[in-house]
């Protein structure tokens, strides 16, 4: 399954506006997308609550996975949002 590994540089982690932008972008896609912390269970990337609860902080590495039409492009966009400092 196509995936991207991203290390979070943002000081606030994947929270607040970055999280909202991430989830909104994922939610627009018609395919399933998941996010997992390294070694952790994947959660639904379209759920703001699951993303917040995942509590991704600066320095954490996440794995974003998606499969289906447009998966590669979507993963690139999500990785860019998540990787932004």
């Amino acid at each position: 399954m196509p995936e991207r590994k991203v290390t979070i540089e943002s000081e606030i982690g994947l929270h607040a506006r970055p999280a909202a932008t991430f989830v909104q972008t994922a939610a627009q896609a018609p395919i399933e997308v998941t996010v997992a912390k390294r070694g952790g269970e994947p959660v639904n990337a379209k759920s703001i609550l699951s993303i917040l609860a995942l509590d991704v902080r600066q320095g954490d590495t996440i794995i974003i996975r998606a499969e289906g039409d447009g998966a590669e492009e979507l993963l690139d966009r999500l990785a860019a949002i998540a990787a932004a400092p």
Binding site: R17, A53, D55, A84
Partner: protein, 562 residues
Amino acid sequence: MTRLAGAGVSPGVGYGPVRRLIRRVPVPPEDACHDGDAAAERARAEAVLERVAADLEARGGEAGGVAKEILFAQAMMARDPDLAASIRELIDGGRSAARAIYDSFAVFREAVARAGGYLAERATDLDDVRDRALLLLQGADGAGAPPPDGNGAGGPYVLVARDLAPADAAVLPPGSVAAFVLEEGGPTSHTAILARAMGVPAVVACRGATRVPEGTAVLVDGTLGEVRVAPSPAEVAAAGERAGRRAARRAASRGPGMTADGRRVALLANIGAPRDVEAAAGCGAEGVGLYRTEFLYLDRRERPPVAEQLGVYREALRAFPGGRVVVRTLDAGADKPLPFLPAVAHEPNPALGRRGLRLLREYPEILHEQLAALAGAAAGAEARLEVMAPMVATVAEAEWFVRACRAAGLPSAGIMIEVPSAALRAGDLARTVDFFSVGTNDLAQYTFAADRELGALHATLDPWHPALLDLIALVADAAARAGRECGVCGEAAADPVLACVLAGLGVSSLSMTPVALPEVRATLARHTFDQCRAAAAAARDAADAAAARSAARSKLPGFGDA
């Protein structure tokens, strides 16, 4: 009789019984089951959450600005797919919709609250969404949910709370609330801004307010920042008369803004959408001092067509024949990403990032299209169109903007003064631009190095602080020397006492939320320019915001019986 002191942030007098905003949302019993029709119960749960989401969005859209962002984030929570899945599962297991919602929120709440800090605040947002859903399920009207509707038998009440979330302020039915009294908050807090927009008197930073027992009659003066507990009938009558006199003065105050001795201070409106134009004209605005144009750009896949922009600008110009309309070009940043621009990299400090004019310099075609539309609208208009750029820090930036305006054929190009560097070197900038407009909210944020978005810092952002007044004085002086206009378009202009001080500092126009216009007009009309100058000097002599406020008031005799 007890008297509590706070900061008056929204003018007027309100009298009524205290209603403390403490939510009483009954917890659905643990064993609450539905009657066996899981599909119907699921539909009920989905329907209320969708109603909550739509309601939050509607109120957010109506309120705009920061409230919108907060309420939209809450709407995302209400529509969360994982939350919905959890609720469905619990209902299929026999639980009632209310209990399923309650339990599902609890799971996520625990997860987000555990992280603490920023996330703990989100837990409060989440509770708010849950409570709105539970109240709806129990048949309560969504809007009337936490604070009761004061239009009924009890009449308008004084809403007392520790702090008031924009979501709560935004859902209050009009006419319900006689006044707001908050234990916390500051003059630039979201609630203060919302209160002024709603025309409800408000006192914030009022110690001891939440200890006043429920139902106690209180008299709130949002101009003086005073709360009288259990006032005597004579005091209520006197306050009523005072309010009546003020209202009569407001009603009687017509025409252009000026001091008692005839010094002109143009009174303009801050607007952020075409629907605000009518309200502005209705409150007697002489024009628009700040037209925020972000609404044209946000939530769009493509850049707004020039023709569409032109129509919007033309509509505003038509409403103020002989007046002026100051349009601020797009003010976007990392906190307001635009879908039609390449994904903006996340910035740790959006307020200090690539925003305002800085962003437009990176994408000049956006500015060129906006200026072309503005020039098209200005052609043949009976109102004067002026254009100004947000977030200007240097002369080079100002020069670039002015050149772009001239190239588009726009005769009047100004800048917002929001950055201390621009205020300090206003003399240089005055040689480049046609006018200044001081944005006090951002100027305070950058002067005090205090994030506007952080509730805990609101008290630091008091527009009465002499540091801010000094900067405004610097800008007004530089403008006067160069023969340029200098306006103020922050929330500071909406405070009638501060408006007199700003006039005394030499500010030539004040632009504010439309409902604040009549009070400011009436207040200015009762004071001479010399009194305003004396008030300004006294305020600048003070060492802090509170002392500045009371020093200024002591020089303005028109507030004696205000």
